[in-house]
Symmetry: C2
Subunit: 193 residues, 2 copies
C-alpha cells in the first residue's frame, strides 16, 4: 500500500531513498479507508491529518450562507488533500473534505511531517517541489478565473485536467470552475473552436 507513496517521493524529489528511509515512511504514514461520501474533514474541525490519495477521488469545498457548495479543490490518485491553513495554524477549518469515491489514503500529522522532513532529505525536497507545483497551478487557476469567460475556463480545465473529467460529474466540475451547472451544460454544446 505504501509503494505508490514511496515512488511518488522518489519521483518528485529526484532522489532514491534507502531501505531504512522507506521503512520510516511506511511506519509513519497511517493508512485509512473512506467510504464514498464519508468526511475526511468537516467545517469547524481542525485538520489534524494531511493525506496522500492512494486510490479514489476526493473533493474539498466550502458551503455558503445559502447552503450552496463551492468546490475549491479536487483530487485523485497521487494527490495530496488537506486544508493547509488549518493544518499548519491549528485553527478550525472553513472547508469540508470528503470522499467522492471509496478511498484508500495514507495520513500524516503535522508533527510527523516536520520530523520526516528533518530525517529524510528526499521528503523535504519532495515537499519543496510539491509547493512549487502547487503555487504554479494556483497561479494559473487565479489567472484563469479573473481573466476568462466560462467557456475559456472550461477549455483550460480540459487541457490541464482531462483526467478529472472522467472521475467527477459535471455539476461538480462546474462548481470547481465557479459556474452554474446549466452554464457548463450549454458551454459544452458549443463548437468550442
Amino acid at each position: 500500500m505504501h509503494e505508490s507513496l514511496i515512488s511518488y517521493i522518489n519521483n518528485y524529489s529526484g532522489e532514491v531513498m534507502s531501505m531504512a528511509e522507506e521503512q520510516l515512511i511506511t511506519r509513519t504514514f497511517v493508512p485509512k479507508v473512506l467510504r464514498k461520501r464519508q468526511y475526511f474533514l468537516q467545517q469547524g474541525d481542525v485538520c489534524k491529518y494531511f493525506c496522500f490519495i492512494v486510490r479514489g477521488a476526493m473533493r474539498q469545498y466550502s458551503v455558503d450562507e445559502r447552503g450552496v457548495e463551492h468546490v475549491i479543490q479536487l483530487g485523485i490518485e497521487n494527490w495530496w488533500m488537506g486544508d493547509r491553513e488549518s493544518f499548519v495554524m491549528l485553527k478550525p477549518s472553513s472547508y469540508n473534505i470528503d470522499a467522492w469515491e471509496n478511498c484508500e489514503l495514507l495520513t500524516i500529522t503535522q508533527a510527523d511531517v516536520v520530523s520526516l522532513a528533518q530525517q529524510i532529505p528526499a521528503v523535504s525536497s519532495m515537499i519543496r517541489s510539491m509547493d512549487e507545483k502547487n503555487s504554479i497551478s494556483n497561479q494559473r487557476r487565479i489567472n484563469s478565473t479573473i481573466s476568462h469567460s466560462a467557456e475559456n475556463r472550461y477549455a483550460n480545465f480540459l487541457r490541464e485536467h482531462p483526467d478529472l473529467l472522467q472521475r467527477f460529474p459535471l455539476h461538480v466540475i462546474a462548481s470547481f470552475l465557479g459556474i452554474a451547472k446549466e452554464t457548463l451544460s450549454r458551454v459544452r454544446k458549443n463548437p468550442l473552436l
Copy 2:
C-alpha cells in the same frame, strides 16, 4: 539596504542568523533600482531573478488577445515578486511585472536561492514558511473568486489587504479582483453592510 531583508528572514524563519550568514546574504542579493513603470519582467522573457521589495510597489499582470491587462498579483515592501513558473522551469513567462512606484529591490537567481538554502538553515525555513503563507492566501483568493459576488470580493480584499488600497489606484484593484473598474466604483457607493 539589506537590513529589511535580514530581519524579514529572521522573522519568518523564527531563527536568528549569525554574522557570517548575514554577510553571505548581503553578498548574494544584488540591489536593483526601478523607475516607475519600468519592467522587471516582460512577457516572453525568462524570469531569471526573483526580487524582494525593499521600497516601492509592483504589479504582475497578463495581457489578453484584446490588449486588456489582468492583474495577477500586487506587491509592496517586504513582498517577493517574480514568476515562479518561469523562474523554476526556465521557460518564457506569460506575465509582465513592472514597477508601479519607484522601487528598490534585492534580486537573486534560482541557483543562488538553492545555494543559500543549503548553506543557511534560516533561509530554507523562511522559504518553507513563505510557501505556506502563499499557498494559504492563494487558496483564499480562489475561494473568493469562485464563490462570491463582486461586492463580497471587494469586502474580502479590504479585510485582507487594507494596505494595498492606499498604494494602487482603483482600476488596478478592480483588475486584481477580476471586475470592471466601473463595477468597483458602483460597489463602493453601497452601504457595504
